[in-house]
Each structure stands twice: as C-alpha cells, then as structure tokens.
C-alpha cells in the first residue's frame, strides 16, 4: 500500500469501524487500530459534551450520547479545527431527535453561546459615547458573535433554569416564534428575548451595519414619529447597558 492507500484505509476504519478496512493492516495492527478508533470517538464525544452541557443535562446521558454517537457516524468532522465540529450537531439535532423542537433549539442556543466566545472583538456602544457621537453619521452593528434565533420553544427558559440549578420547566412550543438575541458582552456570552420592534432592527443589523437614522425610520414606521424618538432613546440605553450593539461614526452620509 502506498501512503494515500494507507491513509484512506485508516480514515475508513475511523469513520466506520468496519473490520474490512482494518484487514489492510494485518492482524498485529488490530490492538493499535482499536486504540486509534477509541481515541477518535472519545475525543468527539467529549468535545460535544463539553460544548453542550445543558443539552446533555436536559436529555440525560443515555439519550445525549446516543444522539452524539449517531451523529459522529453520520457526519464525521471535516475541518482542521475541532471547534467547527459542534456546529454540525446543532444543525443535525432536529433529525436526531425528530419531533423534539425543544432539544433542537436548546442545542442551537448553546451553540450560539459558545460560538460568540471567540468572535472578533469590537468595542461596544457605551453611555459615555451618547454625547460624543454625531448621531446623524452613526452606523450601528451588532456586538461580537451576535446571532438572532427564532425559537418556537421555551429552550431559553430551560437553559436559564439549568444554568441556575432551578427546577426545569416542561418543554413547550408556541406557533409564533420568539426572537432571541445571542451576543458577547465583554467575555460573557448572553442572550435575551427581543421586543418585536427591536427584533426587526436586529434582523437587519445581523445582515449588515445600519445607520442610526435608518433604525429610527424603522421604529417610526412601527410606532409613529413621537413614540419612535422616545423608543430610540430607550433602546440605545438598553443596548449600551448590555453591550449588545457597536456604534461608529462614518464621514459620508449614512444610508
């Protein structure tokens, strides 16, 4: 066997545990192949358990590890970084636990909370900036790692109950989704349910930076002119206090 053939056979062995792939290496290689297979699978299981502790607690060891094992067989890792692997479980959970929207959204929330921890750093909007900025030229962008999740279940409430070791609510779903913003404040991952007018703004912010005047126009459309100004002030204060938004001035007229 040349190098490529050795590597393909060994990769097949790890992906499948199929004895036919092990046969290429001879009987004496069997104990070693078992060590490599065990290390490969244990590392992935540990990685998923570490990133998804709340989902593990919610499902219990047996169901979580059964889903994780099934996932590892169905979707082995492909990226150079192990950090990329947990995302695939979050994407696949609806298929692994059919009809269980609560678990699918809980794992999605945990993934967003994990992913924001290594997102690029940006200085957040602060109250001290309120009087310094020329708001005609301010462009808003979401905080590091911000994601907007549309949740039909009470996964957020379950996450919080598990985080605070409180009695967990029963899983439930609703027809209308709640908009959950996940972001990083300093080094701390956060999430909360957005008000509906905020959700419209964040839906746009997540796509691309947005001028403050455009955000005000959005509010005006929803609330009318007078109420929009008051609401904009209140939202800016909220976003500054929770560090969910970044703001910078641009010299050209903002759109």
């Amino acid at each position: 066997m040349n190098l490529a053939a050795i590597q393909n056979a060994m990769a097949d062995w790890l992906r499948t545990g199929d004895p036919a792939s092990a046969d290429h290496f001879g009987e004496s290689a069997r104990p070693g192949l078992e060590v490599y297979l065990n290390t490969y699978r244990m590392q992935l299981l540990q990685c998923l358990a570490e990133i998804y502790p709340k989902t593990l607690e919610w499902l219990g060891d047996e169901r979580f590890y059964a889903a994780a094992r099934q996932h590892i067989m169905a979707q082995p890792p492909a990226s150079w970084t192990l950090d990329a692997y947990p995302a695939s479980l979050a994407a696949n959970m609806a298929g692994l636990c059919p009809g269980d929207a609560v678990t699918a959204e809980l794992v999605q929330l945990e993934h967003a909370l994990d992913a924001c921890q290594t997102a690029a750093d940006h200085a957040p909007l602060t109250r001290a900036m309120f009087t310094r900025l020329d708001w005609e030229h301010v462009v808003l962008s979401p905080a590091p790692g911000a994601q907007l999740l549309a949740h039909h279940s009470n996964a957020g409430a379950i996450w919080s109950a598990l985080a605070h070791a409180q009695p967990r609510p029963a899983g439930s779903t609703t027809a209308d989704p709640a908009h959950i913003l996940v972001w990083r404040s300093g080094w701390v991952p956060c999430f909360r349910v957005l008000d509906s007018d905020e959700a419209v703004i964040f839906e746009r912010l997540i796509q691309a930076p947005m001028s403050f005047t455009a955000a005000c126009a959005e509010l005006e459309q929803q609330l009318g002119q007078g109420a929009a100004i008051e609401r904009a002030g209140l939202l800016l204060a909220r976003w500054a206090d929770e560090e969910s938004v970044c703001a910078s001035e641009v010299q050209y007229p903002a759109t």
Binding site: L3, L14, Y36, A78, S79, W80, A120, W187
Partner: protein
C-alpha cells in the same frame, strides 16, 4: 569534553486551570507552550489571555492540525491562519508532529502514524519546506506516540527525522515519553533510539506521563513522568548539542501548578546531572 552548552530553558505547557497564573506572570518558568489551534480564532478571551501571557513569557506555538504527512497536501488556509498568529505572538518555536490527521473530507483530530518510507520522506520534506515558506520561519516536528507499526517502513524513525532535517531545514521536538510509549508498543529499544537521535537538530524536549492500556501503553499526558522516561531524558541531555527548551506536557487530570513546577525541578536536576557527567 565539549564546550559548555548555552543554558537549557525550562517551561510548562500552559493549560486552562493555570491561565490566570501565567497572565499574572508569577510562574517561575523560562517559557510557556500553548496549543496553536486554541488561539487561531477571531477574538475573545483566549486570544486576550495569550497576548497577556506573551507580555511575561516567550511562547512556543505547538500545533496538532498541520497534518504534514497528508498524502493529498497541506491546507493552505490553516497555514495562513497559523502565520497570522505566529506573526502576532513572535513565538519561541512553531511546532507540530510527524503524522497525518486528515484525508480530503475527513479530519480525525488525532496524530496518526506514518510509515518510515522514502515515499513518505519525500512527501513530508516537500510539505515541511512549503509550510516553512508560508510561515516564514523554521518549524519543529515532534516524534509522535505510535500504536501500530508498518511492515513497509524502510528506516527507523530517528533516521527518517534526521534525513528530514537535512532535506528541509526543519528542527526537532523530541518527546521522550513518546519514544518510551512507541518503543514499548512497537518493540524497539528506547535507549538505542535516544542514542541515535539527531540531537544537533533538537530545539525542544517534551516530558509527559502515559497510562497502561489493555495491550498497549497510551500517551494520555494525565500523570507524572515515570522513572524510565527520566532516565531516557538524562541520556538525551548528555547528548545535547545545542540549547534546548525542556517542558512538562500535561493535558488531562491537570494538577496544581506547584506539582508541575515540582516535576520541572526534577527535569532541572536531571539536566544538571547530565551536564556534570558530560563535563567530567
């Protein structure tokens, strides 16, 4: 008697429970080694921690994902990200392992063994040169722990590594525990391996513990360095031909920092003993 060697440096692999000690700069070591991939991220606390640690210590970047032995080539995106980190950190060394980790579409995230053949030597030498050219610096390659050998191998691993250094200009990271684990698992003499190892190319030495599996020794890095590994280390230091950076590598069941510093003191003692023996 040879001329006195430049000073040996002593360090630790920096792991999560001890980050704050390193950030504070209170750890009495000459350098810290980190796993490169943990810091090849866009931002957040890990990078801020590494930057803070770098203010106090030289940092060695030790990677696990270069996959220098992949038959299908190197991942250039990976190399460019590693270069960006290295450019910022200005590391003491950039190292990875003599192994392969992936084939197209599949990454094992494990350090898988290569046969020591001329085909593998040609490929790895080409990949090391390519990696060094993208990174703009020399890399060190580490001898991995092995759980199986290949009938195809045409030379011992130490000879493979010696030839690789000559051909590519890379340096070596000698992991003494890996020598011991591989020797026991594959049935070669670890003392002979150390006696033959191309020490002129060794810049860094790893010391670690292993555990006893059912049929094989497993490179678990979850316990103290064992006596036979200390003896092999002393034998290696007796043959050192340049300044080396010696460190304890603990990845699991991570003890209090003082326990690791105690092991590092043992390393200092053993290195000093080797130097005295060499001088007499």
């Amino acid at each position: 008697m040879r001329e006195a060697l430049p000073m040996t440096q002593f360090g630790l692999g920096m792991r999560h429970p001890h980050y704050s000690d390193f950030v504070a700069g209170h750890v009495p070591v000459d350098f810290a080694e980190v796993i490169s991939e943990n810091f090849m991220v866009a931002g957040g606390k890990p990078l801020a921690t590494l930057r803070a640690v770098r203010e106090h210590y030289p940092v060695a970047l030790h990677g696990v994902s270069l996959s220098v032995g992949s038959a299908t080539g190197l991942d250039l995106d990976y190399l460019h990200r590693l270069r960006a980190l290295a450019d910022e950190i200005d590391p003491l060394f950039v190292s990875d392992h003599l192994c392969w980790t992936r084939v197209p579409g599949f990454s094992s995230h494990d350090l898988l063994p290569l046969p020591c053949t001329s085909e593998a030597l040609d490929l790895v030498a080409r990949h090391v040169s390519q990696a060094q050219s993208v990174l703009g610096r020399q890399i060190l390659l580490e001898n991995p722990s092995a759980y199986l050998g290949f009938a195809q191998s045409e030379m011992p691993e130490w000879a493979f590594l010696a030839a690789l250094c000559e051909r590519s200009g890379c340096g070596l990271l000698l992991d003494i525990n890996n020598v011991y684990v591989s020797a026991r698992n594959l049935g070669f003499d670890p003392a002979e391996y150390i006696a033959q190892f191309p020490m002129a190319h060794v810049h860094q030495i790893h010391l670690a513990g292993h555990s006893e599996g059912e049929a094989l020794l497993i490179d678990t890095h979850d316990r103290a360095v064992c006596d036979p590994v200390w003896d092999l280390f002393e034998a290696a230091m007796l043959r050192a031909e340049r300044s080396v950076a010696v460190m304890i590598e603990r990845d699991d069941a991570i003890p209090a920092l003082n326990e690791l510093l105690g092991e590092l003191d043992v390393a200092r003692g053993r290195a000093a003993r080797a130097q005295r023996a060499d001088a007499s």
